[in-house]
Amino acid sequence: MTLRLFLIGWLFHLKNLTNSMFFVLVSVLQPVIFASIAFFMFESGSRTGTLLYAALGAGLMGIWSATLFGSGGAIQWQRWQGTLELLVGAPPPFLATLLPLTIATSTLGIYSVVGTLFWGRIFFGVPLDFAHPLQLALAIPLTIVSLGALGLLLASTFVLYRNANAFANLLEYPVWLATGLLVPLTLLPGWVGPISWALSPTWGMTAIREAALGGSAWLELAMCVGLGLVYLVLGSVALRNFERLARSRATLALT
């Protein structure tokens, strides 16, 4: 029953989000533009060997943007559409209806990864020779699920802010930087390191790069799964708290 709810909810939200031009921009066009910027910068800096690195990084940037804007505003959007009360009032736990939405937002990131790899291959001749295709096939969905769980945490905490979307704008670049999606963490100040360890995109990115470029991705994948579980627990606690307060204060539908 819960699995069915999850799958149907995920598919519904994925289709719904795919129809939004904003998410097409965030998950396809924006990553392709950033990938192109990185390709040109790496080419002019004679770092042509890093083009696959850039394509994967830009793809992950798209996953983060889709998760950030999609999940960060998830509850607010349900409010605006008038569906929040229906979802909270439905028999299944609210978590079971919200999690498919947040994972659907990160799943949009598939478009980003495919888009940047395709773009890189066609226009920049990026070689798509993956060192460990099996690990890569595992790393991408695990990273997406882990980001979906992070999205749940964002959704359940951003609800405290009236202008969640504006707050999401603020978090896009810092996380791109702090998780080493395009810029290696070794170039950043040392204090960024501990922050990056708490963010699953860091581990997901490393896992995907290890799988694609050579190396072992298993440790990073384990970290991705572990962090995903932590986000899930924290998100469900925050969500339960939000639901309890909203019910007791009768503020569920208030924006």
Partner: protein, 262 residues
């Protein structure tokens, strides 16, 4: 004449204040200053990794490009939101001078863009050790003013399209991101394919950023005047087309009774 000036100043100020019906001032400041700051940091670090240019190349490019955030998004909202929020019909029912209505909306966003850009330069000075050539700051201000006005003109054009288009913010977002690619913000025009560079030369920002880079390296205003005049003319061309479209869509909207239909 007095009425037109009043519409220009008061109308523009009210239009700007109306933005805060959907966003709190605190969050607005965070978005307008926080996000641009991280954009500068992101591209400076990416540039260091790529090894394509020095820090000042990315600082000047991005500190000027972030003014486009106000110019493009703000100006788009300043015009297109009239239709979105149902105030377009009453506005156009007034006999007020159209040019004053239209151009008055631009002024607050020019000032806003200048503040954002100045903040970007100041934070780069603090965090990234950015040091423009001695005595170049007044000249740099001139370049930023011209470029910001030019970006606002592009925002006017997109905003005018918003009087007819269903989803103008998609266009605004796309243009904003494309400017990062084709306007010499992070990639020198010479490093772009010729067709992309040609597109960039037809857009605001490109010549202004090139001029600002020259100024930051010690060029005089005379040495970059050609670039600045080109930037100003590009902006003027966009503003003219934007105003033409504004009047055209107004006339069409009246004729078809479709001013606020989507």
């Amino acid at each position: 004449m007095t009425a037109a000036v009043r519409v220009f100043v008061v109308g523009g100020a009210i239009s700007y204040r109306a933005l805060f019906n959907w966003i709190s001032p605190g969050m607005y400041v965070t978005t307008m200053l926080g996000s641009p700051l991280f954009q500068i940091l992101f591209f400076v670090y990416l540039g260091r990794f790529a090894g394509s240019q020095d820090d000042s190349f990315f600082i000047v490019g991005n500190a000027i490009q972030i003014a486009a955030m106000s110019g493009i998004y703000g100006m788009t909202m300043g015009i297109a939101n009239e239709r979105q929020y149902g105030t377009l019909q009453p506005l156009l029912a007034t006999p007020a001078n159209r040019l004053a209505i239209f151009s008055g909306r631009a002024l607050p966003f020019v000032v806003n863009g200048l503040v954002v850009s100045a903040f970007g330069f100041a934070m780069s000075w603090v965090l990234l050790d950015f040091r423009p050539a001695e005595g170049s700051i007044p000249r740099l201000v001139v370049a930023v003013v011209v470029t910001t006005c030019s970006c606002v003109a592009l925002g006017m054009l997109i905003g005018s399209l918003g009087l007819r288009a269903r989803d103008v913010f998609f266009g605004a977002n796309l243009v904003y991101f494309l400017m990062l690619l084709v306007c010499g913000v992070n990639i020198a025009n010479d490093d772009l394919p010729s067709w992309l560079a040609a597109i960039g030369r037809c857009l605001p920002l490109t010549h202004g950023i090139e001029a600002a880079r020259g100024i930051a390296n010690g060029d005089s205003l005379g040495e970059v005047s050609g670039l600045l005049w080109t930037e100003a003319l590009v902006g003027l061309a966009y503003a003219t087309v934007a105003y033409g479209l504004f009047r055209f869509f107004e006339a069409e909207g009246r004729r078809r009774a479709s001013l606020e239909t989507f």
